[in-house]
């Protein structure tokens, strides 16, 4: 006999999901549709007059050198953040995995930075590297290296990448460590008995088994670098110097909230929306299959 639980209520399920649906509509669907709507309008900030301009705002942004530059900057920034945050955290996780004494203390310390808000992290690094009062900037001056991220685009980019990656290392560390501990020990022991060096064991066994985690983290880190790093940029560079760190999400804020160019800003956020949707699709299509829950 088959046992099956059947809920007879017709409305209860809908009622139960209603709060979640309502939240999704109010905080996601509604703003997103507003962005799409505004992106085809040219509007004064007060909403007194709005003209339908079709795709003119999109044409504008894609013929705007600053915007195209911003796409490039975003790509460089997110890839650097992802690569640095992931490689450092993988190294730390591999080391922490082998530590026996005081492991909890190490782990806690490494996870700590994740509790720091991006803007606060930004302020922290800003003060360390401030050309006038920063201690690191001062040491570099002593060593004969001129640090001035308010003028040098490369330095500014490195600084925001470090500040953004620093925080994300903790997050990645957690996942890598969990991934490492999930790898069955017999595999590694067997390889060790066969005479494989620790490095060899890492590359041939650990690394492939970690790949689903790594893939998941790539997507998460890129999403983080795209959207959550606003505070870091805002505090440290304002997108400067000369747009060297003007990432797309910062430009949306800048054009919309400071420049009051609602149409252009909305068009940019639609572009960002498309990017995040495609990232999510990639994540679900490729990772869902490989990750076992």
């Amino acid at each position: 006999m088959e046992k099956r639980v059947v809920f007879k209520h017709k409305f209860l399920p809908y009622l139960l999901v209603a709060p979640q649906i309502a939240i999704t509509i109010v905080f996601f669907i509604w703003p997103a549709s507003q962005a799409v709507y505004q992106s085809v309008l040219q509007e004064d900030p007060f909403g007194l007059s709005a003209t339908f301009v079709g795709l003119a705002n999109f044409v504008d942004i894609f013929t705007d050198e600053i915007y195209l530059h911003s796409i490039y900057v975003t790509a460089v920034f997110s890839l650097s953040v992802a690569v640095i945050a992931m490689s450092v955290s993988l190294l730390l996780a591999a080391m922490a995995d082998r530590v026996i004494k005081g492991a909890t203390a190490y782990k806690t310390l490494i996870i700590w930075p994740y509790a720091v808000a991006p803007a606060v992290a930004g302020v922290l690094w800003y003060f360390l590297f401030n050309p006038t009062v920063g201690i690191i900037a001062l040491y570099m001056k002593v060593l004969g290296y001129e640090w001035n991220h308010s003028l040098n685009g490369g330095q500014a980019m490195s600084l925001v990448v470090i500040a953004a990656a620093w925080r994300e290392i903790s997050y990645n560390f957690l996942f890598f460590l969990a991934g490492l501990q999930a790898i069955p020990k017999p595999f590694i022991e067997a390889a060790a008995i066969d005479g494989a060096s620790p490095l060899k064991r890492f590359w041939t066994i650990t690394f492939p088994l970690l790949s689903p985690t790594a893939f998941f983290l790539i997507v998460m880190n890129i999403v983080y670098a795209f959207f959550d790093t606003f505070g870091v940029i805002h505090v440290i560079t304002d997108g400067g110097p000369s747009n060297a760190t003007n990432i797309m999400v910062y430009k949306v804020y800048h054009d919309g909230f400071l420049g009051l160019d609602l149409g252009g800003s909305a068009a940019q956020s639609v572009v960002l929306m498309i990017i995040v949707i495609s990232l999510t699709v990639i994540q679900f299509r490729y990772i869902e299959r490989k990750v076992n829950y």
């Binding site: 007060f46 308010s150 003028l151 685009g153 400067g240 252009g264």
Partner: protein, 437 residues
């Protein structure tokens, strides 16, 4: 009994409501952008006004920085619940002016109220930024400042320079800076580089920053700050940066620490920075008027202001507007203005307040405070020195910042950078023109 008690409570409640509504003051909401000590001062002004009369109550609310406050005001207007008074920074002026259905011009508010209002009582260089070409006041100036030169007197002494003889021209600044570099200082730097070295530079040298009287004459204005004089000045700064007698200090006034820490010995910054430097500088410093190029025929003219003004928003009752007018009258009174001026270092907005402060002997004790006023009122403002009125100016300023940074990093010449800024800026001006037709 219980029933009666309930009824009694209800009756008392109704009575209470009707009593309060009979006594209710008309509330005037004022959204401003002053945090910290300035914010307390703003609340004190509103509080004093509320104590002085019993018809209106001004509620001053801090809404974040200038951009936040403006955005909050706009969002409130869009959701049909705007404040009565909104503080907007000077670069937002064109945006507010163009929003005809959202703002109620100050001259109208004052005229309808029947209260005495004399536009000539106000300092022309301050109000001209916020008046129509016909001289009608659109917004009430509140906090205005203008850039001046600060110099480290101790550094001057060390370099063998006379601390009572600050440099008057740019070539003199360079000479002084070279001498200062020899005794370990980094010459000079600046805050607000677009505002000081392009916008005020134009007014000070009596050359246009944009066509159509710097945008006062119409939305079809175009930028012209790539003239030979502008290019010469910016190229000179870039060359001086290479020579290491000038250093770019970053956007906004991020470079202030360079002056207060004693790294640079001369610094151009807003007159409103005076109080801050008084607090943070551990050395004696002096102020003087902005340097100019002696070979420029129009210089020195007068400088223009920065800061913010108060805009009245539409959508309120005549009684509330009367309250706004009453408050503005109070705000413009010499005593309130003189106190605000002396407390903050912002310029007074009326001539009476200026003379009141002068009479109190304040300028003898703090000579730096008068530098800005003298410089602003040096000559009668011309078309080039009344102020600026460009739409999308916030974005244009950040374009200018970007190009200047490219120039100072040596990636572009001054000519290339300014040409690019003018070109990109004009594109934004056309966009604004199109959106506000």
């Amino acid at each position: 009994m219980k029933k009666y008690r309930f009824l009694l409570v209800v009756a008392l409640f109704i009575l209470g409501v009707s009593v309060t509504s009979a006594q209710a003051l008309t509330e005037i909401n004022w959204w401003h952008a002053h945090g910290g000590r300035l914010g307390e001062k703003v609340s004190a002004i509103a509080g004093d006004f509320n104590k002085l009369q019993n018809k209106y109550r001004v509620v001053a609310t801090y809404k974040g920085n200038y951009a936040d406050t403006m955005t909050a005001g706009i969002a409130a207007f869009r959701s049909k619940n705007p404040p009565h008074i909104l503080q907007v920074f000077e670069v937002g002026t064109a945006t507010m002016m163009a929003a005809k259905g959202a703002i109620k011009p100050v001259y109208e508010v004052m005229g309808e109220s029947g209260l005495p209002f004399d536009p000539n009582a106000y300092l022309p260089t301050v109000t001209s930024y916020y008046t129509t070409p016909e001289g009608k006041m659109l917004s009430m100036p509140f906090n205005s400042s203008t850039p001046i030169l600060y110099f480290n007197k101790e550094a001057f002494k060390k370099a063998g320079l006379d601390p009572n003889k600050p440099p008057r021209t740019w070539p003199e600044v360079a000479d002084y800076a070279r001498k200062l570099v020899k005794v370990g200082y980094t010459g000079f730097s600046t805050a607000w580089i677009s505002w000081i070295h392009l916008e005020n530079f134009s007014a000070w040298h009596n050359v246009p920053f944009g066509t159509k009287a710097n945008g006062f004459g119409g939305l079809d204005t175009e930028f012209v700050f790539n003239s030979p004089l502008h290019v010469k000045h910016i190229q000179q700064l870039a060359d001086w940066q290479k020579e290491k007698i000038f250093i770019y200090g970053g956007r906004r006034n991020l470079g202030n620490a360079k002056f207060s820490s004693g790294e640079v010995a001369m610094y151009t910054e807003s007159s409103a920075g005076y109080a801050g430097f008084k607090k943070t500088c551990k050395f004696d410093f002096g102020t003087s008027m902005l340097p100019y190029w002696p070979d420029a025929p129009g210089a020195p003219q007068n400088t223009i202001i920065g800061g913010a003004s108060l805009w009245v928003m539409t959508g309120h009752t005549p009684d509330e507007y009367r309250g706004v007018a009453t408050f503005f009258t109070y705000l413009s009174s010499p005593a309130v203005q003189a106190d605000w001026h002396q407390f903050t270092g912002y310029l007074p907005i009326t001539t009476d307040a200026y003379y009141l402060t002068k009479g109190q002997g304040v300028y003898e004790k703090k000579p730096g405070m008068e530098t800005a006023l003298k410089q602003m009122t040096l000559h009668k403002p011309t078309e080039n020195s009344k102020g600026l009125r460009f739409g999308n100016f916030v974005q244009e300023r950040s374009i200018i910042y970007g190009e200047l940074e490219a120039i100072f990093a040596g990636k572009k010449t001054a000519q290339q950078g300014l040409d690019a800024a003018v070109k990109a800026g004009n594109k934004l001006l056309r966009k604004f023109e199109k959106a506000n037709k």
